[in-house]
């Protein structure tokens, strides 16, 4: 399937970049003319993954967060969110709803939201090396995509 657009974005793990990241993705996919609900789903999933890198991966430090995204001819969007932070010991357990190591104010629902709001999600993590979350969602294009 042909890629019709792509982008890469790098920024530091500061919490004010949670909104920057999801707004940038929203602007990037706007050429597909997504519905308000498709747009909200994708923004929320990106917000969850970026927040995890800020809150968990780079807990006491500031590190870089790497986002890359592709749009395919058929309306498929892939989004990769990567950090070089702490890594996750047990990915399967981490992905269980309500599981959190983040204390009182974390709901433990970040991965559950990503799973439910996107078509596919894959998590690769290595302790001390970092975590990569890859997500996918297909939007039925409502406008003709040219160039």
């Amino acid at each position: 399937m042909k890629i019709i657009n792509e982008m890469r974005l790098v920024f530091p793990s500061k919490s004010l970049n949670e909104s920057f990241a999801r707004t940038t993705i929203a602007s990037f996919i706007s050429c597909l003319d997504p519905t308000i609900s498709e747009l909200a789903d994708i923004k929320t999933a990106v917000s969850e993954a970026v927040t995890n890198s800020i809150v968990h991966a780079y807990k006491e430090t500031v590190g870089s967060i790497y986002i890359s995204s592709q749009i395919y001819e058929n309306g498929k969007i892939t989004i990769k969110i990567k950090d070089k932070g702490s890594g996750i010991e047990d990915v399967k357990k981490a992905m269980e709803p309500l599981f959190t190591t983040g204390g009182e104010e974390r709901a433990g629902l970040g991965f559950a939201v990503m799973q439910s709001f996107m078509d596919k999600i894959k998590v690769i993590s290595k302790i001390g090396k970092g975590t990569t979350v890859t997500m996918e969602k297909t939007i039925i294009p409502r406008v003709k995509l040219n160039k």
């Binding site: 919490s15 004010l16 949670e18 909104s19 999801r22 308000i36 609900s37 909200a40 789903d41 923004k43 929320t44 917000s47 969850e48 927040t51 800020i54 809150v55 009182e104 104010e105 974390r106 709901a107 629902l109 970040g110 559950a112 939201v113 439910s116 709001f117």
Partner: protein, 100 residues
């Protein structure tokens, strides 16, 4: 993100305005908790009418306020939850805590 806090006969009403995420939740939490701990209301109402975006940090925020209100033998009410934000609320199972 802005939060407006009002008191009205045993009630504290917090009107949330903008995006709720991990970045903005801290401020909202502190504003609400300082008022609630001072006033000890019977009911805390969170008004989502002007909330454009909310991720699971917002669910954490709600759960935390729910626990706080239980501690004070009070109640939490969520009002003006839009369809868009309703989706993450339903996923979270928060509606099972009580009927809204």
């Amino acid at each position: 993100m802005a939060v407006k806090i009002e008191k009205r006969s045993g009630c504290v009403i917090a009107t949330l305005d903008g995006d709720i995420d991990h970045h903005t939740a801290k401020n909202i939490r502190e504003s609400i908790d300082s008022e609630v701990e001072k006033t000890k209301p019977k009911i805390l109402k969170l008004d989502f009418n002007k909330v454009n975006f909310m991720d699971s940090s917002g669910i954490g925020l709600i759960m935390g306020r729910y626990k706080l209100m239980k501690l004070l033998n009070g109640d939490l009410e969520l009002i003006n939850v839009s369809q868009r934000i309703g989706k993450i609320m339903r996923l979270s199972g928060i509606y099972k805590l009580k009927k809204y």
